[in-house]
Subunit: 303 residues, 2 copies
């Protein structure tokens, strides 16, 4: 199956209590693509400026990511600057420069229009729908969003959700989108907008998903050293959807395993700045950590 | 096996966004005892004033809880007044009146000194040790604490922990006790004080336990209606230890099931004010929710 992602490719400048990284490769579509590429080929739709170095494009290609849909236009690449305190759950945004992203109107290459699975990363919900309309007959549509669009484009977001099968969202944003403090009720409200599943990301507390078959909760992997949480949510989505596509099976049991695989990939990503840990990852490490998630969560039945 | 608990029996006045309860039965030892009583007999050590009604003592006795160690002295029973906002994770204490608890120096009845398992609820760590010394040869000692003792009696608490097998503690308090922001490192520090396991309570995010056999994470049960989180931690401890004692098996596998049973009992407790939900609980409901925790957390292996 073919997996398409539309989102941002960016330069990030990040400070955490454990270090600093300056103008490193980042962006939602980048983290997603690289994580998903461990399981399936990926078609990337995004835009960069003329300052985007060829070495980054070569890296993406080396990961079996199609960059045919990565436009280069005149101007500067999207830049984000943020910092984290000891509570690594919440980034403080210091600067956002949309640059070339501001006038981004993605036109899919012909070959991308046959994509079977689509991930609409956190961008303007009108753009999400615009991209989706260019895909002929997607079998599965997954989207993310953020408080900026919930607050600024609520109606457009709810409209886009009618065409979405699975929504991936932060817990605070799920409550905001649903206008409901209780997370179970918030999830039910989001399901009433269209998706058949909602996967709620809770940072260091892991993930809880709600769907027709009930709820599934997965902890985050307990790590001694978290250096940089930037991109953890998109890496989760990439591991989740990349694995799901590779199984060619969208059943509840398969979605549960995919949620664990997303958690596995996110747990690696936060161990280093930018995509550095994902760059050096071996598939045997991924399988090993999946097994550790079983040891972390499973228990025997009452005898 | 026999299970002994020392802690508080109190009157609570509680306000949550969903209602109000005035001078209702509460206290750490009360919640613990009632939750544990679904699995094993309990010996209660606490103190109340002359204002404590006979009907509450009759209720405890009806739950197979020995009140031989429940002293009645002249004066008023311990009172706590608190409130919760929509974020039900954190109580705001409005008033604490120790009353008869202030001069509490528990002397165990002879029959209690043979107890095999001891729970030292959240009281002065010097009192915890004093009670423990009166028990002849406990097979398992479990304790709780709170920020008040971490800040006011740090050395006494660390001294008490030398005699403790399992510590049950909130996540914020674990970080404070260990003086370490990272929870994995905080757990390791606490284990270095003496316990072989530390069970860290994370409110609506569930529990994560660390021991010699690695980590175990359990989510909280996702509830649509949480009315009153008062006593959730002590109810968790009661379900955890009551079930563990009933299995007569302190292996890692048994501890995992006991952590789920504690989570089951806590999930019922928060569905109503005071001990109202625990009072009406059927064992079949407990077994049913245990099964639901398996559906909530389990996933298949990679094929």
């Amino acid at each position: 199956m073919s997996l398409l992602v539309v989102g941002s490719v960016a330069f990030d400048t990040v400070t955490t209590p454990f270090g600093h990284a300056d103008e490193v490769l980042g962006g939602s579509a980048t983290y997603f693509s690289v994580a998903a590429s461990y399981f399936t080929p990926v078609s990337l739709v995004a835009v960069v400026g003329e300052d985007f170095p060829a070495k980054h494009i070569e890296f993406l290609k080396s990961r079996n990511i199609s960059t045919e849909g990565l436009e280069t236009v005149s101007g500067k690449t999207f830049r984000w600057k943020g910092e984290y305190g000891f509570d690594l759950n919440q980034a403080k945004t210091l600067e956002t420069h949309l640059n070339v992203f501001q006038n981004f109107h993605p036109r899919l290459p012909e070959s991308y229009k046959e994509a079977e699975v689509v991930f609409l990363a956190n961008i303007d919900p009108e753009l999400q729908l615009d991209v989706l309309k260019q895909v002929k007959s997607p079998a599965l549509v997954v989207c993310d969003t953020m408080n900026y669009w919930i607050e600024g484009k609520y109606d457009a977001l709810v409209h886009t959700l009618k065409s979405v099968d699975i929504m991936v969202i932060n817990d605070g944003e799920a409550r905001e989108l649903a206008k409901e403090a209780n997370l179970v009720k918030a999830a039910q409200k989001i399901l009433s907008f269209g998706p058949r599943s909602v996967v709620i990301k809770r940072g260091e507390y892991g993930v809880i998903a709600f769907g027709r078959d009930g709820a599934f909760a997965a902890p985050a992997y307990p790590l001694e050293s978290v250096y940089d949480p930037t991109g953890a949510g998109d890496t989760f989505a990439g591991g989740f959807l990349g694995y799901l596509v590779s199984t060619r099976n969208f059943s509840d049991a398969s979605i549960r395993k995919a949620i664990i695989m997303g958690s596995v990939m996110a747990s690696f990503n936060v161990e280093a700045f930018s995509l550095n840990r994902l760059k050096s990852l071996e598939y045997s490490e991924i399988e090993g950590r999946f097994m550790e998630f079983r040891r972390l969560t499973h228990f025997e039945d009452l005898s």
